[in-house]
Amino acid sequence: MTSSVLTQPVACATPPVQRHESEKPVIRERGQREVFCGLTGIVWLHRKIQDAFFLVVGSRTCAHLIQSAAGVMIFAEPRFGTAIIDERDLAGLADMNEELDRVVTRLLQRRPDIKLLFLVGSCPSEVIKLDLSRAAQRLSRQYMPDVRILNYSGSGIETTFTQGEDACLASLVPELPVEAEEAPASLMVVGSLADVVEDQFRRLFDELGIGPVHFLPPRNSRSLPPVGPNTRYLLAQPFLGDTGRILEDRGAKRLSAPFPLGAEGTTLWLKAAADAVGVDPKHFEKVVAPGQERARVAVERQKEVLGGKSIFFFPDSQLEPPLARFLARELDMKLIEVGTPFLHRQHLERELDLLPRDVQLSEGQDVEKQLDRCRDSNPDLIVCGLGLANPLEAEGRATKWSIELVFTPIQGFEQAGDLAELFARPLVRRTRLEV
């Protein structure tokens, strides 16, 4: 597959959109979901936006979740915390808004380095209908221009895992400055990427002659990218449904592309940006060729381990369809089931076209039934969350924990080999151990 990808289809200017989705109906289930809620996104978002603080307004469970998801207890004072609602708040003995103001005041006094504060809604705050948008407005009046205060919900009743980033970025969009009408066409890359990946893409865009290029979220809250009718946006992550919609409300236009995973995905993703501003196809090929070749060689190395192996995805981050496309097309893996918490058909249109026609997609989850299907199909590798991985390993099954795919830089040409290696490692490990 790899060679054909790199030689022909990307060369044509705008690939004709052909619908050839899977023949199998999507399995839609509800039941117990073994997934994180949207609060978990704070774990990477606070590292990305370096002057932001994330204050969850929630329960002890919320605080415990983020701490557990962060995995290690980071030994500096982190830029996230929880305002824990207690019985006095619920019984009306304390005015919850006054309490929140007090907590925010104490926090901002302690941390003068904070320039952007997110009040993050949780299941309890949503259920008791605590209005965090009004709280954010009220507190903003007090603290602007020193500190900008925004709100979004990361509650489990509304968001699954990566949807927390969607909600966070969506809350940032109304704050973006207006791009001047006469401004030249600009490109906005939307979705958190590791800084190293962002820098690689920026160099490629420069070489291609595409610019200005902005990234959302920015590394610093003082450098919010402008948006307007001349903005074209390119999604770097597949879970940004709301953010995309609100960007379009502000005039931005989405460039349809697969996601930048693997040599093929990265090429087509860059190509979408290049075509939008009419980059000469020959120049495009010249710029991307070295990266493509490095990616191809690096991925090829893992094919020996992964080629022909079957894989089953439990839903986790919405990255599953693009990951499955990469594994099927560049590593010849057999897809048994590709589970995703939510299937955004429009944003994934190009991915769905590239997936094999016989792929079984599933959306939502009833974890017990899905485990039954997984055991029945006996895949060579299972991609799942941390709650399931060790129990499945104890049954003698090889697993890859999905959360690593969110925390590790995997996008772009230079990371394609690393991405393949993440899937190969559990299988290689099993061949090494003799205990």
Partner: protein, 532 residues
């Protein structure tokens, strides 16, 4: 509303999960939104359990709230029963479900399942993990063993002649700090005394084991945080006495043996005479002299903090300078213990408050949880972990109990280890200005001449020392410390980990005596003044 950066304990339903997960055939149906399943990974990742916790989450979403979340609970429970066929079930709410008030107890009852169902009321906005575990264990014991309760006023008949006494070990749970190995150690100890262990609960117990708890002669409470309430009920109901001493440390283990001997009428002399712990001799051997009077700060759950204070004081010869707990339910016990060392206990679940206390006390060692380990690391102080909240490192592959005589050996090694490292750093500090061993020198085994790219000399391990080179440090409106260069140079010869304290004390002494500038004499006068 409380601002929390890190928490020592999870919510109370996580405590309930620790009970259900410890057991073999109990299933817990938790009314909870999507996301609360994160708690599974505590068990599968931190404790490396090979099975998923036996918990079904109803996973309601925003769109369900207007409709019928109660129906969702009932179908989830019915399906869980069909699939897992447990011997007993627990039902309850997580924090969000508590707000929607669906009454899991009533709904479960309506299902009319042919097994015991124990409803849990765990107020999430008020209580925490250990309380939740304790309450769950109590209700489970009451719900299952209660069926076999004798009439009020029943007297336990004397044990038949020649029959070994039998006890239950109560309190060990999933995700407990060294519970796995404590069970083995205490079972061994009791067996050597001539006592049989009838059941351990909740760890590895079945619902039937819980039902029969009343058959044993007495109970051993290993972790009062978890088992005290249940043990009290068993005492009232089945006239079963229970042990009050937690056998952590040599002295406490001896006391525990005496208590068991008292309850059972067994002669403990033979077991005590074996002197089965190495700690007493190791502590008396001359190379342990350097432990004398080391200032330690202790923080953890009540059981482990109280035990650690006694060991530190009586068995290591340390000086306990701070003692505290995050277990508010056991605050009184910790306050009483603190009085023994002339201290006021720190009762707090605010990590930042604990950090401030450690900073202010400048101990030479911290005995705490993983949270204090991070604080100590940041402050450049040695630390050993004595208590939950647990970390994957607290489930070592090797046998390493905290309880009993082997537990005392483990504790000796664990606590001395960071101090040994401290001693090495001390030597490094002594040779700080040395031509050969200066801070930027590469490790000697890497050959000569090279300078480290990234210096991790002691000064950087101790950020508070950044001001060493300046002539003026403590500045108040009325008084400024000025050091003459001799005194400043002498100060640098003092090992780095006590240098901050020496500087502070000297400046305090100078200020109180109106001395300026600070000379060599002032430095040594202050040393004599504050010397212990």
């Amino acid at each position: 509303m409380q601002l929390t950066v890190w928490t020592y304990e999870g919510p109370p339903h996580v405590g309930a999960m620790r009970i259900a997960t410890a057991m073999q055939d109990v299933h817990y149906v938790l009314h909870a939104p999507q996301g609360d399943t994160y708690a599974d990974l505590l068990f599968t990742m931190i404790e490396r359990r090979q099975k998923r916790p036996p918990v079904t989450y109803t996973t309601f979403q925003a769109r369900d709230l207007g409709t019928d979340t109660a129906e969702l609970f009932k179908s989830a429970m019915a399906e869980a029963y069909e699939r897992f066929k447990p011997a007993a079930m627990l039902v309850g709410s997580s924090c969000t479900a508590e707000l929607i008030q669906d009454d899991p107890a009533g709904l479960a009852k309506a299902l009319n399942l042919p097994i015991p169902v124990v409803p849990l009321e765990l107020p999430s906005y008020q209580r925490k993990e250990n309380w939740g575990a304790s309450e769950t264990f109590y209700h489970l014991v009451r719900g299952l063993a209660g069926a076999k309760a004798p009439e009020a006023g029943w007297k336990r008949p004397a044990r038949p002649e020649g029959q070994r006494p039998r006890c239950n070990l109560l309190g060990p749970t999933a995700l407990g700090f060294r519970h796995r190995d404590d069970i083995t150690e205490i079972t061994r100890l009791l067996t050597s005394l001539g006592v049989d262990v009838a059941s351990v609960a909740p760890m590895d117990a079945t619902a039937a084991d819980i039902q029969n708890l009343g058959d044993a002669d007495f109970n051993v409470v290993l972790y009062p945080e978890i088992a005290d309430t249940a043990a009290k009920w068993l005492q009232r109901t089945f006239a079963q006495p229970y042990t009050k001493t937690v056998p952590i440390g040599v002295g406490a283990t001896r006391d525990f043996i005496a208590e068991v001997a008292e309850i059972t009428g067994i002669d403990p002399a033979a077991v005590l005479a074996q002197a089965p712990s190495r700690l007493p001799w190791y502590s008396r051997s001359v190379d342990s002299n350097y432990l004398t009077g080391k200032r330690v700060f202790i923080f953890g759950d009540a059981t482990h903090a109280i035990a650690a204070a006694r060991i530190a004081d009586k068995e290591f010869g340390f000086k306990v300078v701070g003692l505290g707990t995050y277990s508010r339910e056991q605050a009184r016990d910790v306050r009483d213990a603190a009085k023994l060392y002339g201290l006021e206990a720190l009762i707090s679940d605010d990590y930042l408050e604990v950090e401030a206390a450690i900073e202010a006390l400048e101990p030479e060692m911290v005995l705490g949880s993983q949270m204090e380990r991070h604080i100590a690391k940041r402050l450049g102080i040695g630390c050993a972990v004595i208590s939950a909240p647990v970390h994957v490192q607290d489930f070592p592959a090797r046998y390493s109990p905290q309880m009993g005589f082997e537990g005392a050996n483990v504790i000796f090694d664990t606590w001395v280890h960071p101090l040994m490292m401290g001693l090495e750093e001390h030597l490094l500090g002594m040779f700080r200005e040395d031509f050969e061993f200066h801070g930027d020198a590469q490790a000697s085994h890497l050959g000569h001449g090279a300078v480290k790219e990234r210096s991790d000399s002691p000064e950087q391990a101790f950020p508070g020392e950044a001001a060493v080179e300046t002539k003026t440090t403590t500045t108040t409106t009325e008084w400024t410390a000025v050091w003459v260069s001799d005194a400043e140079a002498e100060l640098k010869k003092i090992p780095f980990f006590v240098r901050g304290k020496a500087r502070k004390n000297t400046e305090l002494y100078a200020r109180e005596n109106g001395i300026s500038p600070i000379t060599l004499e002032t430095l040594y006068d202050a040393k004599a003044h504050f010397g212990r």
